[in-house]
Symmetry: C2
Subunit: 164 residues, 2 copies
């Protein structure tokens, strides 16, 4: 099935366009299309890349919050899978980056108190607009999460997830 590989490559390229390593994107795509948790070796072979890269990139995505690491009784291997609500993690990450930019600007405003009104106005605009979008997006995130919790709870009532 070539569709699978094409999909994985496209996710890889999309990830790269956002500043992530290409392999991280492919890993993401692979896990998206994997019914169950995967081991490092499994992924490395499927993607035809070194295990070291998979290890590094898996932990990268783990830090970003889109992956989950699980384990199995009587098994030493690590298992990676998509986090239950991984897109919320993506949004949270973006929120974090906008927040960082906001902090940078807010912290700098006093330094430029002597600058012309145009500049001060622009920094204040940035302060305002970021506050607006950060608050709005954070609100969306809350809404989604509570909505997801309900749906997720229903699923778990029917199919309890083992191994986590």
């Amino acid at each position: 099935m070539a569709a699978r590989e094409r999909f994985i490559e496209e996710v890889g390229m999309a990830a790269e366009a956002d500043g992530l390593p290409r392999i991280a994107g492919r890993l993401f795509g692979h896990l998206l299309l994997s019914p169950g948790p995967c081991t490092l070796d499994e992924i490395a072979e499927a993607l035809d890349v070194s295990k070291g890269s998979v290890s590094t990139d898996a932990r990268l995505l783990l830090r970003h919050g889109w992956l989950r690491r699980t384990s199995r009784a009587g098994d030493r291997k690590d298992y990676y899978e998509m986090a239950p609500d991984f897109f919320a993690g993506i949004v949270a990450y973006r929120l974090g980056r906008w927040d960082a930019l906001h902090d940078l600007v807010a912290a700098s405003i006093p330094d430029f108190a002597e600058e012309p009104a145009t500049v001060r106005g622009r920094l204040e605009y940035l302060d305002e607009v970021q506050a607006f979008f950060v608050a709005g997006l954070r609100q969306l995130l809350l809404e989604w999460r509570s909505r997801f919790e309900i749906a997720d709870g229903q699923d778990r009532a029917v199919v309890p997830t083992p191994g986590s």
Copy 2:
């Protein structure tokens, strides 16, 4: 004033973390702190980089919609300045990227109709959550823009902007 250079460098690094050239970020920072429109030569000298880089990166940011190019009567030079509501452009860009990912996934769902329920469910989850956030963020953008139009209109009533 070292604060200015520090600010510009920090914006440069922040931009780089998001996959843009460092000079593009510095250009962004420079324009943020410039009271008026700047020429390519001006910027190149201030940032101590080649004019070619400034030309390329300025047009990059122009395409992304955070910059504006203006001209002056009796002057051959191009002038660059921050777009009036540039952060809306940043949000719109992010919206575009999420939209692209959404399209990728939505278009691929039929290809994986034969896959296990776990995979199909995950793709449908992605479809849903992206629709939610894309719609929500787009709505925020609309709200902000109408709010900004009003404020901007007021400003322009008091201080008409020449040269555009």
